[in-house]
Symmetry: C2
Subunit: 211 residues, 2 copies
């Protein structure tokens, strides 16, 4: 498989973690978003939406949207499971995953930040991220305090919740979001970053990361 | 079951469609977002994130996040299926669903529009939505042209793709987004709005809709 992705993109980071947790090898193909390589005609054939990541299967089929790719991996490589079998446990994991993916992620997406910078000035970018991230982090911290959290967001094994949360924290730091009010999140981040699948997926370890 | 929701919220609309497609009855509890009823202490006990929808099960457990609720319904009431069994069909449906839920939805969310209005003026709200919706609608239209579309986004039966897309089109119209460049989407919208499960979930049919 080939993973077209970008070292700093949080959705790319999610996908790398999921592939690593499933023990699946892939070829790393860097797409430089700062050079708009996602809009190259050759790449647009793989993903008409012009975004990363895109996972190209051995049969040539290109999958896009990190959560759809994660679902595909879950369907086709069920072990180890990254979503619980129990419906209520599963809904708890998804609640955290979607709190990141649908409620936070877009705010720090490159085109959105470019728009904000253009309309309100470059200094407004940090302010924008610092305005939107904390209420969502607080909501996740509240879920983590419900008694079902272990070493990871749900029990002691990594799940979609951690796969979505950890990359978003990397983004939060980039924009100097104060993370001290979220000790539960901080504890999980520490555990995750020490896990080989997360460590190998870290942006700064990727071949296209600046030296 | 009790569905705490708001007539015009697109995530509430999604959840109503899913419940209707599964043939599940529910009590409608209106939460007026314009009166900040989502921040009432009683409601915050159900959803600490303070958002709609929240689905309270007969055993008192409160589920939040529309996509997590939809997944719970899929796990606990698998018939009729709203996600295909085949992994590649499933990834196609999810790609469309997530293109709406992760890439479009947030832009027209009330707090985001309030922020944009406060910083850039009320007139900027329509401009903001009209800037972000079209590239995402074009990406969905491109997927719909791949030969797997039927009466609905994937074949002839409704799926998560339609459940996410149709409410977002209602929002698009509110902000005068030009939908004429997307004939494939328009055809599916027409089919969906004629389907009883979608028709009964329409915002203007809800008890809290203005008369």
């Amino acid at each position: 498989m080939k993973l077209y992705n970008y070292w700093r993109s949080s959705t790319s980071y999610r996908t790398r973690i999921a592939l690593n947790l499933k023990g699946l090898a892939y070829e790393y193909v860097p797409i430089n978003l700062l050079k708009n390589e996602q809009d190259d005609p050759a790449f647009l054939k793989l993903n008409p939406s012009g975004g990363v990541p895109a996972l190209v299967l051995d049969n040539g089929v290109a999958l896009t949207q990190s959560l759809a790719i994660m679902d595909y991996l879950e369907q086709t490589h069920p072990t180890p499971p990254l979503l619980p079998r129990d419906p209520l446990a599963r809904v708890r994991v998804l609640r955290i995953a979607y709190a990141v993916a649908t409620d936070m992620h877009q705010f720090a997406n490159l085109p959105v930040l470019n728009y904000v910078g253009e309309k309100l000035g470059d200094a407004a970018k940090n302010e924008w991220v610092q305005y939107w991230f904390p209420p969502n982090l607080a909501a996740i911290e509240a879920i983590l305090n419900d008694g079902h959290t272990g070493r990871f967001c749900h029990g002691d094994a990594p799940s979609w919740a951690d796969i979505c949360l950890i990359p978003q924290l990397f983004t939060a730091r980039r924009f100097n979001v104060d993370l001290t009010p979220y000790p539960g999140i901080a504890r999980i981040e520490q555990a995750a970053l020490a896990h080989p699948a997360f460590a190998a997926a870290h942006p700064e370890k990727q071949p296209d990361a600046p030296g």
